[in-house]
Symmetry: C2
Subunit: 217 residues, 2 copies
Amino acid sequence: MQKSISLDQIEAMDSRERVNLINAIVGFKCVNLIGTVDTLGNENLAVFSSIIHLGSNPALIGFITRPDSVERHTLSNLLETGSYTINHINSAIYKQAHQTAARYDKSTSEFDITGLHALYKDGFTAPFVQESNIQMAMKFKQKIDIELNGTILIIGEVQAIYYPEDCLCVDGFIDIEKADTITCSGLDSYHSTVRLDRLSYAVPDKAVRSINLNYVE
Amino acid sequence: MQKSISLDQIEAMDSRERVNLINAIVGFKCVNLIGTVDTLGNENLAVFSSIIHLGSNPALIGFITRPDSVERHTLSNLLETGSYTINHINSAIYKQAHQTAARYDKSTSEFDITGLHALYKDGFTAPFVQESNIQMAMKFKQKIDIELNGTILIIGEVQAIYYPEDCLCVDGFIDIEKADTITCSGLDSYHSTVRLDRLSYAVPDKAVRSINLNYVE
């Protein structure tokens, strides 16, 4: 049977319960680790689950961060250096990824705490997560303040993409399930995926059909 | 072996290939059906995969829509009425959901085309998807133009939540996997999920542990 929760009930809820509810209700979330470093060399790694594709040309990705009234190392580092990395989470590292959400002071590196390894490559300022199968180098482009609740949308442009060679398809699609990328729901539930199908481009008056995954040889 | 794609290579790609690549690389996406109706009663239903949780108090959800230089019925309808619904996609309806992405004219209802049923309830203006297991009534709050690429962030507040009664946990978490909610990657790959674990709140110097799913009786 279907049940419902009204706006009045949402507003009257215990705050922790409401956080669990509203974070879950949005659907499965795009969860990644964001790596940064400040100009003194202090590294930071943090899990973010409000990440969105904004456009492909230019290749823009956005993420939401809480107000910077409290210390937010990811935000201050990327504003300072203009650089950050986005690293996919896989089934071998999701517990370490979750642990990065704990509050450490700025001199503590979440890489050290979790045992994940910072990887510097191709002259890029920010550290990648070595254990991540898909990694992106990002350049900060814009910060948009969302006045409704004081959150911030950070927009960056993809500078480079690193991926396992057997996961790229001939049409540009990267099979992130094959790369063991996972998703999350709510604040704390982690899920691997099982492909139902890949569907053809939708046009009027034509039934969608399955399309094959043709990997680049 | 790991391979890489540089910014120059991204910019030089065939446009369709780049769209497939950048849509996939962000991670698993939050995909939902958005239902609207205009003041003349023309219904619209469209699949959106750039949806994000913005905050829990107030309960705000955002989604990205393309520029309104071409006809965008979801956008014009929700600006006209202030109302829309967000409906989770499950394994029984993902093909119909995908088909809503085809371009139909305004007088054509994607409900009629796909066989999904419009459901009006509790005095809410916009139609819900009857076949969707988790549904939300949304009130339009703010439109933010993203000048970098001409996309638009639409922010709405949750007015009501409808869910299967056996999916709510005592701590407010809704088990969307139990409700058969699915996720997508890229523009066209649909995936069901398998829970790895639900993890305890992360605090420094304490290992995360599994937490039980205690459903409301």
